[in-house]
Amino acid sequence: MTASVCDYTADEIMTVTAARQLPNGAVCFVGIGLPSAACNLARMTHAPDLVLIYESGAVGTRPTVLPLSIGDGELAETATAVVSLPEIFAHYLQRGRVDFGFLGAAQIDRYANINSTVIGDYAQPKVRLPGAGGAPEIATFAREVLIIMKQTPRSFVPRLDFRTSCGYLTGSGARAATAAPGAGPRAVITDFGVLRPDPDTDELTLSAVYPGITVEAARAATGWPLKIAARVETLPAPDPEDLRVLRVLEASTREAQARPVRIVLPAAI
């Protein structure tokens, strides 16, 4: 292995692997952070016609740098349309026009339910997290959901402190019984590999690992006895071109975020 091709960080292989889940031409509702990096990487590489929607109302946006917030001006300037918030949630998401929802969270359980609200008790929280935002409806109405999260025993927990957004609820068809319009999480992309729901029980099952990652390591990073697929695929190392595009994108993002803002006030005030 040569350093130039095979040196990559855990974040990088996660982002590249997540990007590869998105087919060209799909309509994707994007969360901020790792989901935003993965979606834009996909658009800049194998999926040029991916339609990215941010909850701020930017539809079909093509940012050249990653936004810090879901409402940066860059997202509006490069969008096909900028619509209102009631419209993006009602007319696009709720009406069934979104193929993929892409989410992150603080905690996940074995049925891919996620928590982004509190650690500890809701009324007396140990850590108050930002909360729901668009996630509960994205998790409910998008045709499929992708989740990207780092895998640790603290984040992959036997029992959520709070269920902000539903995955498969208690499993074995419980979600399907609620008649939720979307099918639920199709994959959870972590820094160890990819987990997919079991077709019968809906339980997250380790189906693929990155090069050099063992099944035992993935198991040790999970707070419940992790189910392992009969055949665990070893995923390829990130494509060098994907890595190059991702690094250029992140460097230009850092440069843009460090740029000072100057406001010219009228002389009179």
């Binding site: 001006g73 949630f89 935002g133 996630a135 509960p136 539903c166 000072p260 803002v261």
Partner: protein, 282 residues
Amino acid sequence: MQLLPLKEAIAAHVHDGARVALEGFTHLIPFAAGHEIVRQRRRNLHLIRMTPDLIYDQLIGMGCASRLTFSWGGNPGVGSLHRLRDAVEHSFPQPLTLTEYTHAELALAYQAGASGMTCGFMPHHADTDLDQESSSSRHAVSCPFTGRPLTAVPAVRPDVTILHAQQIDTAGNVLLRGIIGAAKEAALAAERLLITVEQQVARLEVDLNAVVLPSWLVTAASIVPGCAWPSYAHSCYPRDNRFYLAWDEISRERSSFAAWMDRHVLGVRGHAEHLRLLGVAT
């Protein structure tokens, strides 16, 4: 529409205990109006906003609020709002009662308020623990035509909504351009509407269907250039992401937060001085 200095507009229309919505989804957040509320030492406000952002972190940290209605309370792309967390986790500087929605619900609640409805409807309920914990009281109901399940979300009607905008014309009509969030719905849901604006022009040069709030909907307007900093006003100045990143450190401790607010908000007469002191404007 009355054109007033911001100080007078806040003094006349934002009272202790009022339900106040400073809206603008990441964009066009009326920071200067929030700072004026801090300087006038309003108390027990019920703050309403989809994304509390830095401005509500400041209002909460300065003890202006006892209730918060919201749907996502973080520093976007950065992490926590530390003053909001301190209020929720440690009741400092005072307890804060939360009414928590999802974005889709709060957008719908504003829309219902703006439409003279007591509630709005959604077709399928997102299965979330917010149902058990929150005081926002969603209800499962049936569609009277098909019998299918619907979720009813109660309307939100602020006493006063404050928006920032790019332009106002001499007749008092107001133009907003760019990411709009639920600003229009929040404006039309409220009893009173206060506007801060970048500049006054003789006539708004806009296409049909632009977001224009007619002057007769506006209670009072104040011309405050740079009002939205560190958020932004599209085509005027960009979002100061550097400051959003810096806020994490400034707001982390009670003492560093208090010192920053003392010097940069309580210690200045208005927004122009605030921006000059921070080196953002010259």
